[in-house]
């Protein structure tokens, strides 16, 4: 089922949680709503689910307005950050809940319920824990039960609110890969909220970046990472070096760097900021390239397969961070205190 969000606005008192949000989610997609806490992503998810109501705007499922439909009638599967399992019910009964509360006419027989629940428990690899109570499970197991419970009612849309937020790093990684595989099997339109950019880029087909109640950019993980539409997206997705300077008639002078900025041909000495990702900073031993600028190595940090260099350009200005592979670093063979030459392979300038 496709979802459309149209002109959604929501306020909590004086605080504008969402300002005129317009989004499309196509059938079978897995989309991440990504943003810092308080950006409105959870509120948007709850509005889609029908747990919260917007001041203006509408949510459409397959083109039909859902404004008059309650959460109960929307047939969405909702997975909560803190699982929200029913503590007094076993794993089995938790998963069976959605089937047992159906009106008698549509309620499956006990045998059908048992088959269905067992299939789902197999899917989440927890058949052996069917009789356990939520209190006896680990966080990862609880979240899998919550997911199975949501899937039991065969929702047309699956909404997940920070599904891995309460888990520790390793379980989180495992579970998000598992979720991706599960989605590839089931193809149910899914939207999940996260503040973890790595999670969003790894799992989602498309990423919706949100900030302060607005959508900053929508795109595939490659698009949003390689071509951030706004300074916010640049800083929010991964590390970035920031240079302050000016743009004049399509030419930018930021920090010690001079580059062309063809999108700002009519800018007249306007203040500007240049953004460069650490892995787009090239580091050389010798001053061969005319665009390279000299810098001093301040610190070298080994981060597993990568090496992080902290640099200071000799002309002063903000400190600079470069990221090399181990191999690249061995070839460079730079030590703290030595002078190297850096070149920005890929810089974006925003006014």
């Amino acid at each position: 089922m496709s979802i459309e969000v149209r002109n959604i606005t929501k306020r909590f008192g004086d605080f504008a949680a969402l300002r005129d949000i317009n989004l499309q989610f196509s059938t079978g997609e897995l989309v991440a709503l990504l943003g810092p806490s308080g950006c409105g992503k959870t509120t948007l998810l709850r509005i889609i689910a029908g747990l919260e109501f917007p001041e203006t705007g509408d949510v459409l499922f397959d083109g039909k307005s859902a404004a008059e439909r309650t959460v109960r009638q929307r047939r969405v599967g909702f997975v909560f950050q803190h699982y929200a399992l029913f503590r007094h019910m076993s794993v089995f009964e938790n998963v069976a809940f959605g089937l047992r509360v159906r009106p008698r006419k549509f309620r499956p027989s006990n045998a059908e319920i048992r088959d269905k629940v067992n299939t789902l428990l197999k899917l989440i690899q927890m058949e052996h824990l069917a009789r356990h109570y939520p209190a006896q499970l680990s966080g990862g197991q609880r979240q899998r039960v919550a997911l199975a419970r949501a899937l039991a009612v065969e929702p047309s849309v699956l909404l997940l609110d920070e599904p891995f937020g309460a888990l520790d790093a390793k379980v989180r990684l495992e579970l998000r890969r598992w979720l991706r595989r599960l989605h590839d099997e089931l193809h149910v339109t899914s939207v999940f909220v996260t503040h973890d950019q790595e999670e969003a880029l790894e799992v989602a087909d498309r990423v919706v970046l949100m900030n302060a109640g607005r959508v900053e950019q929508v795109g595939t993980p490659e698009e949003v990472y390689d071509n951030p539409a706004t300074p916010f997206v640049y800083t929010f997705l991964g590390h970035v070096n920031i240079f302050r300077g000016r743009v004049h008639r399509g030419h930018a002078q930021v920090g010690a760097v001079e580059i062309d900025a063809p999108e700002y041909t009519d800018a007249d000495n306007a203040p500007a900021v240049g953004y460069v990702r650490p892995h787009d900073v090239e580091v050389f031993r010798e001053a061969g390239d005319p665009l390279a600028i000299p810098a001093r190595v301040v610190r070298v940090q080994m981060l597993g397969p990568l090496v992080r260099l902290e640099l200071a350009t000799l002309s002063g200005g903000d400190p600079l961070e470069a990221q090399l592979t181990r191999k690249g670093f061995q070839e460079l063979n730079a030590r703290p205190g030595e002078t190297v030459y850096v070149k920005m392979a890929n810089m974006r300038v925003f006014i």
């Binding site: 969405v76 029913f86 007094h88 509360v101």
Partner: protein, 275 residues
């Protein structure tokens, strides 16, 4: 042993103190009660506790206490629900008001209830006009017991309701459950052990209540005479073995109720409801 490993010293001393304190304050008087009953023969004991007047008092005491605890189970749950789920001006005052029956001397409660429910009183008059006798009838006993045992259900249910996550109800709704289904299948089972505990505590407290009831009940033998009052009467007539016999039966009943409460708590814990 806990004493070997614990980083906090003084296990032996505190344990010893606790045991002797409990023995002196609780066990000794209760043992004395049993000893007292042995001064009468088995025959006399049975005769005392099965005499018509005593049985009538048991009936009134247990039924009235049961009725009061039942009323409080329902309305106490409601009060707790309102106090936890809604915000309104004066909420703190109402929250404090719940404890008043605890703090109030029971005699004061008895006098004020009698004044209100007497045939000429504020509530008593309209009730009398309807042909309902409130004070000086078993109904009066129930009213007094309901009043004094009100806080128990509220105070046991309140924390459980506070810990309930709204998300649980939202999850139920998103899975297609209606309001009634959410209440019956999600809310009630979680809260029920606490309600039952509160009920048992109310019942135990109401069973032993004396001070407030003697004013409002009228104390007519066979009709509105509660067991604690009967014990009192026997004592005044220097019938110590008789009073002890009646008291032992009450003690056994209270003990059973406490046992039931603990079993309920154990059951709730095992089901993972109170984590």
């Amino acid at each position: 042993m806990a004493s070997r490993r614990s980083i906090i010293p003084g296990f032996n001393i505190t344990m010893g103190l606790t045991l002797s304190y409990l023995a002196a304050m609780v066990l000794l008087p209760l043992a004395a009660l049993f000893v007292k009953t042995t001064t009468s023969t088995w025959q006399e004991f049975l005769q005392t506790v099965t005499s018509a007047r005593v049985v009538a008092s048991y009936r009134l005491s247990f039924l009235a206490a049961f009725a009061a605890a039942s009323i409080n189970a329902v309305f106490g749950f409601l009060v707790a629900w309102v106090l936890v789920r809604y915000n309104f001006p004066g909420k703190r005052i109402i929250d404090g008001l719940v404890d008043l029956p605890f703090a109030l001397p029971t005699a004061v409660a008895g006098i004020s209830l009698t004044a209100v429910y007497a045939p000429s009183g504020l509530f008593g008059k309209p009730l009398a006009a309807l042909g309902i006798k409130s004070a000086f009838s078993p109904l009066g006993v129930v009213i007094a017991l309901t009043f004094i045992s009100l806080p128990f259900v509220v105070r046991t249910v309140q924390p459980i309701l506070q810990n309930l996550e709204i998300e649980n109800e939202e999850a139920a709704a998103s899975l297609g459950a209606g309001r009634m289904q959410t209440f019956l299948r999600v809310l009630l089972p979680t809260v029920l052990p606490a309600v039952l505990t509160g009920f048992a505590l109310s019942f135990a407290r109401a069973l032993g209540e004396y001070g407030s009831v003697v004013f409002i009940s009228g104390n007519m033998p066979m009709k509105t005479e509660i067991t604690p009052l009967l014990i009192m009467t026997k004592l005044e007539q220097f019938d110590y073995p008789g009073a002890a016999a009646v008291a032992v039966v009450m003690l056994a009943a209270s003990f059973l109720i406490l046992l039931a409460t603990n079993l309920l708590q154990w059951w709730g814990k095992r089901r993972g409801i109170w984590v």
